[in-house]
Symmetry: C2
Subunit: 336 residues, 2 copies
């Protein structure tokens, strides 16, 4: 096979078939995908269905802790998981620039297959488009996902059960993904070695959902944890108080945020999620999180309050108060 | 709101929310989407599920007979329909170039909403990414789709019931989409006015499935009808004989194919599908097709044969025979 992607690989003809066989079917190996029909036909699990989509345009494609393929699987799996769903199936749509290296495509696809296996999901349908040189930036990947939701978990996505006094919990340190991307983009040689936290959280989340009462969950990706909490206060007309000193952050990440002029509350994560749960369950959730590699630095970082409705207030580590507002523009383009 | 898309519209922050409210929620108006959760939560219809994805990168975005938005809805709806599924839900993922005109985005989104309404599907979840100027070509759209399949229709996608003697039927003239795109791309001033056949075929297809026995269906998009029949012969080790004189094609399309040097069998359609059905049902199918605006030029164009297994032979209109092979490279990049 040629060493680079050619326009013919997007033609729907022989070269497309060859690409599908030699790369996609090879790595995503499962019966449904091998059928190569227009749509995958899936067994119906007799539960409510969760459906999500995300396009990934991260730059650079390869970064410490992951690549665009791993990210595309984790991100969509996590979107399903935080909705209270068990992630089952993924689609993948590739838009590839003519001239893209086959070896890089193979590395990306292999990562997707490995991450899908880890997360216990199947990639069952896909599509490939190739555009002329300079008409897209190397490769963009869309993954859409299907999961199933128990009837008694459907409120997790909507957050309709969020109540005054609920605790806000995060599963670990913030800002790792954004700073890892920023660092590799700027080709900075850090003394410290910051890796993206990019990970599929579904197994951990499913464990917690089974054992604890959860009122809301959201993965804190683009826009960081600030965007998650701001969205909640505005949607549900409640107040949120965060304790800055309790929010886990690596010293190296904090330092680079200062260098770049970023507020870490707004920096993207790809392996962090915010839980809102009744006070009675908060410690149990914390224990479950801390027992897992993906939650070992978990912390209770704030609570739902009836004060300052519709607003998020940060109690700063030096004893002040600061309002946290939704990000107006773009802090870091193409972070995911 | 600003007149062009800015990087901030892809930030996940306030500008993203504004874009979602003022464009996407406005036009795709439905309760599930309005929840704006990470994943849409859908009722389970207790049937098998069909799942499909396609990215659309068509150039130009606006062409006679449609635009990238209409195409993104029709294409995915049709992929579900030809799989024997009833299309229900779509996701949409936008990748937009910084500086893209808001007015153009609105026109595209409005077309998507109109076509979704016509097809009877709901756009229930979405995602927007914005990339820097020159890092993508204006706008790319991914639509993934979910449909439901009756157990006794699941063979339609696989084609496992295709038998010797089955008839091959098409619902109308070939090549319209490809030539319409080609013409508007080259900015040719045709005497004739060729429009894309871009249309949602699901209502017509569902009607036929209910009343007739169908062994296989496929929409003849990228790679044209040649790619569909070649794929079948190779997958099922059968022979196919096509009658050139029976294949409907507009005189204007045939003429421009000659000018461009294209074989119309390979030119893309976006409103045409190939049916393979037992001989006993062929005339009934033809009647049903011809009674519908989207099938009025339908014709029986060939049959499954035990001769030349694995190959497609075209009986030409001048009395010769020609082998039809899978397209090796790319005839028309970015046709969909």
């Amino acid at each position: 096979m040629s060493k680079t992607i050619l326009l013919g690989h997007g033609s729907g003809g022989r070269m497309t078939h060859q690409l599908i066989q030699e790369i996609f079917v090879k790595y995503f190996n499962n019966e449904t995908l091998s059928e190569q029909t227009d749509a995958a036909i899936l067994e119906n699990p007799n539960k409510k269905i969760a459906f999500t989509t995300d396009s990934y345009v991260v730059d650079p494609l390869f970064f410490p802790g992951g690549n665009i393929g791993k990210l595309a699987v984790c991100g969509t799996v996590n979107d399903l998981a935080v909705s209270g769903a068990q992630a089952l199936y993924l689609s993948c749509g590739f838009i590839i620039e003519e001239g893209f290296l086959f070896d890089d495509l193979e590395t990306i696809v292999k990562s997707m297959a490995e991450e899908a296996f880890k997360a216990g999901v199947k990639i069952v349908t896909g599509d490939t488009k190739v555009v002329n040189k300079s008409k897209c930036d190397k490769i963009f990947i869309n993954t859409s996902g299907i999961g199933i939701v128990d009837n008694n978990h459907t409120h997790i996505a909507s957050g309709n059960k969020i109540s005054i006094g609920d605790k806000i919990i995060i599963n670990g340190s913030i800002g790792d993904h954004g700073i890892a991307i920023m660092g590799s983009r700027e080709n900075l040689k850090y003394e410290t070695n910051i890796e993206s936290d990019c990970a599929s959280l579904n197994h951990l989340i499913n464990k917690i959902i089974k054992q604890c009462e959860i009122h809301f969950m959201r993965d804190a990706t683009r826009g960081g944890i600030a965007s998650v909490v701001c969205e909640i206060t505005q949607k549900h007309k409640i107040g949120i108080a965060l304790d800055e000193s309790r929010i886990p952050i690596k010293e190296s990440v904090r330092g680079l945020c200062e260098v770049f002029g970023f507020d870490p509350l707004y920096v993207a994560n790809e392996g962090k999620f915010v839980i809102i749960a009744p006070k009675k369950d908060a410690n149990k959730i914390l224990e479950l999180l801390q027992a897992d590699e993906l939650g070992k630095d978990a912390a209770i970082i704030g609570e739902i309050t009836e004060n300052h409705l519709g607003k998020v207030i940060l109690n700063t580590s030096i004893g002040g108060k600061r309002m946290v507002d939704m990000l107006a523009g773009e802090q870091l383009p193409r972070i995911c």
